[in-house]
């Protein structure tokens, strides 16, 4: 359950977390770094205009204990508050679509579409509740969940406050594009020393997403 909640939160990161950051940093800031955080929050204002995003990504998983790394490539698309598509093209083809009421996954190996309703997966509600919460400007929730500090002019470090988040990640680093209108990189550090890095490129904000993209199995 909590694992799913983390996924939900992470899914929101590309857009919502950043938009929330400008107020949240002000709310959670310690006095010595207040000016920097406030400044950072001001830089993130372009995110407010983002209604949809499409990007390609490269996800690198490092299993430290096994000294093994796995690289996954794919693309993603997100409509704010509605749905998210996460597709991988390598090493296997797979697509999953999250919406408020359901979760669907298709993979090329089995060729099957697996569907789950919100009743089976309460975390789907979490996903959209959080999203609404953050987009509506209720940023206290974010401040409750993470302590936030800027590492440099383009990077924020989020340290989970809540126990159930700490079980999964010790910290999350978030690097923005120079224009501050999208995330360029996300790095999740896990408790057991494993890590996961996501690099986003070819990012397109507010471009129409073809309806065909939301069909499973993909055509």
């Amino acid at each position: 359950m909590h694992y799913m909640r983390i996924i939900a939160l992470l899914l929101l990161c590309p857009l919502s977390l950043l938009r929330a950051a400008d107020t949240a940093v002000a709310a959670t800031a310690a006095p010595p770094t207040l000016a920097t955080l406030a400044e950072f929050a001001a830089w993130l204002r372009p995110l407010a205009a983002v209604r949809s995003v499409q990007a390609e990504y490269r996800q690198t998983r490092l299993l430290r204990s096994l000294n093994f790394s796995l690289s996954i490539h794919g693309h993603m698309a997100q409509e704010q508050g509605r749905r998210l598509l996460w597709a991988t093209t390598s090493p296997m083809r797979s697509t999953c679509i999250f919406s408020e009421d359901s979760f669907q996954q298709w993979d090329a190996e089995t060729g099957k579409v697996t569907s789950l309703s919100a009743a089976d997966m309460p975390w789907l509600k979490v996903l959209f509740n959080c999203q609404k919460q953050w987009l509506s400007g209720d940023l206290d929730a974010l401040a409750t969940d993470f302590s936030i500090e800027p590492l440099d002019d383009h990077t924020l470090r989020l340290t989970p406050r809540r126990q159930e988040f700490q079980l999964f990640f010790t910290q999350i680093e978030m690097r923005f594009r120079p224009s501050y209108d999208a995330i360029a990189r996300l790095v999740f550090s896990e408790k057991n020393g494993d890590s996961m890095q996501m690099d986003f490129f070819n990012i397109r904000n507010n471009e129409p997403i073809p309806e065909q993209l939301w069909m499973l199995p993909p055509k």
Binding site: Y3, P91, D194
Partner: protein, 1010 residues
């Protein structure tokens, strides 16, 4: 000289002696009272354990004891409502401060609010625990290819942590999540699974559960300050938030407050009643004040005696006994009435036989309580019996020493000597009343539900109902509390109970479903140590490694899982349970002193028969109790019904053995029991007519009153057989008046126990006194000098009829329904009555001695109140056809062949009659906050409607009351879908027509002759 004369002479001498040495007698009594008071205080040990109210080895007693041991009664739930959806998270910082403050309160042992931990915390912990959680047969479910495929799918998900898959390749943890889903479903709690704290689905409310320290909150004086402190703390930390407190402790508080308020009101009213008594009945005689002093002295003496006899005496029984001793004031009244006039000592001596006999019969009834095997009732019986015997001696010998000489009291209304005509009138009225009471006895309903005696306020009940609606689902499972002395014994008991229930395929959840008992864990581990299991494990590990390698994953990806499993297999079954389980089991297992109690949930609705069978099974286990109002009702019924029957039989036999040697005549015996019998019969009839169910307090009061009202019979007999004018009618009148006026004060009480006790006292004493004063003299007047056989036979038949009728009168158990629930059920009934296709019924119209059978086709729509009906002869010829909507008739056709008189008497108003029968009001009017079935309602149209059954459906409807009755309709045997019922009887009092509707028998299968 006969025996009575000898006794009278001897007693006259004894009384003269006591009167001459009155100071010595007073001194002796005062010394006795003093000694006994000191004994009661020094030697006596008093307890307030309600468990003594139940038979030692009974279903209800065990239920009560286990419930008390579980500590569930010490829970307080705080609901904090933010007033807006999603408002709960904003309250969290303040609630955390509140939790800290509440946890620091001395009477609160723990506060449950946050759901700490998670399954992720136990990934690494769970793998070595699997050999303890389940046996090695789980290995057969493992599929390496599928495991790797699922892992690869997971890898494609964004940011999915892989630790879960590394420690659970085969998805075994899904089983645990399934268990938790069972828990969530069976517990019936509507809490959000998306938040790590107790909140509702839209996160507008938070729920805190406080466990109080055992034994620290037993009285209102202890509970009220705690609740006030909690309210203050919430108001301080969370201003603007609505707080609702739900706790059994609120019932304790409400009950105690209700009793205190009632006692104040009843005391004031009793004072007023006594003033009226003093001025009107005792005519300002100050010496009458001595009458209640004697029972008071008796109470002190007998309390001292009980302190010596019993090692522990129930405090509440002391209170009840005090009341019974107060009723013994009747004996003083008889002495007071007799000890007046010129020959007062002789007159007093003459009433000794009936006085002693009445005290002996009453004492005998109470002594029979000692044979029930119920500790509290035994104490009650012995106390009350001793008190009556001691009181009769003190009243007879000491009270006269305190009374000055005064003229004889006489009440013309009490000294009734009827003429033959009046006697016939009275006897006929009595017979009619008795027959009417017998006829309505089948309608009597019993409600042994404890909530019927709960004096909790309507506000508390309503808030509980609202709380249940918000936080509990309707499909919640049943709850069994399992008790044991240590944790492992507790887990074993849960497993044993599951096996017991499992025989009937019941789904359940309990702590051992997550973490089994040591014995089971060890048994599981042994299966993993078998060579076959070791080989299977090795084979799985190799296959997984190969599969990983094949798909480009590291072969050692799952090695940690297999290492953990082997560590668990090699380890000890004593290992501590994983942290994740602890969070759940902490909510399921409660520790109270040296006793541990676990909550065991299981699914399935139980009817009374299944409930009784389950209760018997659980009772056999000895440490399990099903907690529900219905379980308690069924258990109480099973325990007390045979016990009550047995006690009544003993009482009857005892009374017969006591009275037969003295009176030696069946007619005299019947006269003695007549007032008591009439009182019980008529009172039961009145209760049946009122529709009010008989509860435990009413039953208990009626049994106790047998002992007291039999006195009226004995005195009435002595009065009618006395050769000269006796003081007995005056004494009966005075004692009845005293009891009636004081018990009438109880009728204003709001607490159900006090009210019902008052109702029984008032009703039965009134009826017994009226019978003794008027019916007995009338009967004796009519049958004096004749053979009493007819009288005996008539009474015997009446008794037999009453007995037969009452035993068959056990109906469906009453249900307690809140306004919302009742309105919901009524709405469901209305929906079922929606636009229905036409149905055919047989219809029989009876008028005078004529009967017209026909077939009726009726179609109705409850929503638009539309009705269309056609009556036909069995040949198919139409007799009438009517239709209309909203009560307005639009079509009315009666066949020409119908005679004019029938047209006028039967069919002129047939449309209205059919509307009365087949249409129900969609707005039945407001339901009371909490009502017991059957629910009786007066609709705005004046129609009185009775709803009963589950779900609610009309069983009776009428307009007008005697002598202005208009019509009445009875519905019997509704179908399960509530669309129609099998039999309807309608009586129109204006036209004198009776309509009987029945569903036609299904057509027989046609068979062709070969």
């Amino acid at each position: 000289m006969d025996a009575t004369a000898k006794i009278t002479r001897w007693l006259t001498g004894a009384l003269c002696l006591v009167l001459r040495r009155r100071r010595a007698a007073w001194a002796a009594v005062l010394v006795l009272v003093g000694v006994m008071a000191v004994t009661a205080l020094r030697v006596g040990t008093f307890s307030n354990d309600l468990g003594h109210m139940f038979p030692a080895d009974s279903l209800s007693g065990n239920l009560y004891r286990l419930m008390t041991r579980s500590g569930l009664g010490d829970l307080i739930q705080l609901e904090l409502a933010s007033g807006q959806a999603g408002g709960a998270p904003a309250m969290l910082p303040a609630v955390d401060r509140l939790v800290a403050e509440l946890s620091g309160m001395p009477s609160i042992s723990s506060v449950d609010f946050r759901l700490t931990g998670g399954i992720a915390d136990s990934w690494s912990e769970l793998a070595p625990a699997w050999p303890l959680l389940t046996d090695a047969s789980i290995l057969a479910t493992a599929d390496p290819a599928q495991a790797v495929q699922k892992l690869r799918q997971a890898l494609m998900l964004p940011a999915a942590p892989l630790a879960a898959w590394r420690h659970d390749p085969f998805g075994w943890q899904g089983r645990l999540l399934g268990e938790l889903q069972d828990f969530h479903r069976l517990s019936g709690m509507k809490i959000s699974l998306q938040h790590p704290y107790m909140t509702d689905a839209d996160a507008s409310r938070l729920l805190l559960t406080l466990q109080c320290r055992p034994g620290e909150l037993a009285t209102a004086a202890q509970i009220a300050p705690l609740l006030a402190t909690i309210r203050q703390a919430v108001a301080r930390e969370l201003p603007g938030v609505t707080l609702t407190i739900i706790s059994p402790l609120k019932h304790v508080l409400d009950n105690e407050r209700a009793v205190r308020r009632d006692i104040l009101q009843v005391s004031l009213l009793s004072l007023l009643a006594l003033l009226i008594l003093f001025l009107l009945l005792y005519r300002g005689a100050y010496d009458a004040v001595w009458i209640p002093v004697i029972p008071f002295a008796t109470t002190v003496i007998v309390t001292g005696l009980m302190a010596v006899i019993f090692d522990e005496f129930c405090l509440f029984i002391l209170g009840i006994c005090g009341s019974i001793a107060g009723l013994a004031v009747d004996q003083g009244i008889h002495v007071y009435a007799a000890y007046s006039g010129r020959w007062r000592v002789r007159a007093l001596a003459r009433i000794w036989p009936p006085l002693l006999l009445s005290a002996a019969t009453s004492a005998l009834v109470f002594f029979m309580f000692a044979l029930t095997g119920i500790r509290a009732y035994s104490q009650l019986g012995i106390f009350a019996g001793c008190a009556l015997l001691v009181n009769v001696v003190l009243s007879f010998f000491i009270l006269p020493t305190l009374l000055p000489q005064r003229p004889r009291l006489q009440f013309a209304c009490a000294s009734f000597q009827p003429g033959k005509k009046t006697a016939w009138l009275i006897v006929c009225a009595w017979l009619l009343g008795s027959a009417a009471a017998v006829s309505v006895l089948p309608r009597i309903r019993f409600d042994f539900n404890l909530s019927a005696l709960d004096g909790a306020s309507a506000e508390t009940r309503l808030s509980e109902e609202e709380f249940q609606r918000r936080w509990r689902r309707d499909d919640a499972g049943n709850l069994i509390v399992v008790s044991a002395n240590d944790r492992d014994e507790l887990l074993q008991s849960c497993e044993a109970l599951e096996r017991l229930l499992g025989a009937s395929g019941t789904r359940c959840f309990h702590p051992a479903r997550l973490w089994p008992s040591r014995q089971t864990r060890e048994a599981h581990r042994q299966t993993w140590r078998q060579p076959e299991a070791t080989a299977a494990l090795r084979r799985l590990e190799d296959e997984l490694a190969r599969e990983c390698q094949r798909t480009g994953l590291p072969p050692a990806f799952f090695t940690a899982f297999f290492d953990s499993l082997r560590q668990g297999i090699a380890g000890d079954a004593e290992r501590p349970e994983p942290a994740f389980f602890r969070d759940v089991t902490a909510r399921l297992i409660r520790e109270r002193g040296h006793t541990l109690s676990a909550m065991f949930f299981f699914a399935g609705a139980l009817n009374d028969g299944e409930l009784a069978a389950l209760l018997e099974k659980l009772d056999g286990l000895g440490n399990c109790a099903l907690l529900s109002n219905d379980a308690f009702r069924v258990a109480t019924g099973r325990d007390f019904r045979p016990l009550a029957s047995r006690v009544l039989l003993w009482v009857a036999l005892g009374l017969l053995l006591l009275l037969l040697p003295v009176y030696r005549s069946p007619a005299k015996l019947l006269i003695i029991i007549l007032p008591g019998f009439t009182a019980a019969l008529w009172f039961a009839g009145l209760v049946a007519i009122s529709g009010r169910p008989v509860n435990i307090a009413t039953c208990f009061g009626m049994i106790m009153l047998i002992g007291l009202v039999i006195d009226y019979g004995i005195f009435a007999l002595h009065h009618v057989t006395a050769r000269d004018a006796s003081t007995i009618p005056t004494a009966i009148f005075l004692s009845a008046g005293t009891t009636l006026l004081t018990s009438a004060a109880l009728l204003v009480a709001r607490h159900p126990i006090l009210f019902h006790t008052g109702l029984v006292l008032f009703g039965q004493i009134l009826l017994a006194a009226l019978t003794a004063l008027y019916v007995v003299p009338a009967l004796v007047r009519l049958w004096r000098g004749r053979r009493g056989g007819l009288f005996v036979a008539a009474l015997g038949l009446l008794w037999l009829a009453a007995g037969c009728r009452i035993t068959s009168g056990q109906g469906e158990a009453p249900r307690q329904l809140t306004a919302a629930a009742a309105a919901g059920e009524w709405q469901a009934f209305q929906q079922a009555q929606g636009d229905e296709p036409a149905q055919m019924l047989t219809m029989k119209v009876d008028i005078l001695w004529y009967s017209f059978p026909m077939l009726l086709v009726v179609q109705r729509d409850a929503t638009s109140q539309r009705l269309q009906a056609t009556g036909m002869l069995p040949t198919g010829a139409v007799v009438f056809a009517v239709s209309g909507e909203g009560g307005r008739q639009s079509q009315h056709h009666v066949a020409a062949v119908v005679p004019a008189i029938a047209r006028k008497r039967i069919f002129a108003g047939i449309y209205d009659d059919l509307c009365n029968i087949f249409l129900t009001s969609s707005q039945p009017g407001p339901f009371p906050a909490v009502a017991s079935t059957p629910i009786r309602q007066r609709l705005p149209s004046g129609i009185v409607q009775t709803l009963d059954g589950s779900p609610l459906r009309p069983v009776h409807k009428k307009l007008g009351t005697f002598p202005r009755r208009q019509w009445v309709v009875h519905y019997a045997d509704w179908d399960d879908d509530l669309k129609s019922c099998r039999r309807i009887v309608y009586k129109n009092y204006r036209t004198r027509c009776t309509f009987t509707f029945q569903r036609p028998a299904p057509p027989e299968k046609e068979t062709l002759a070969p």
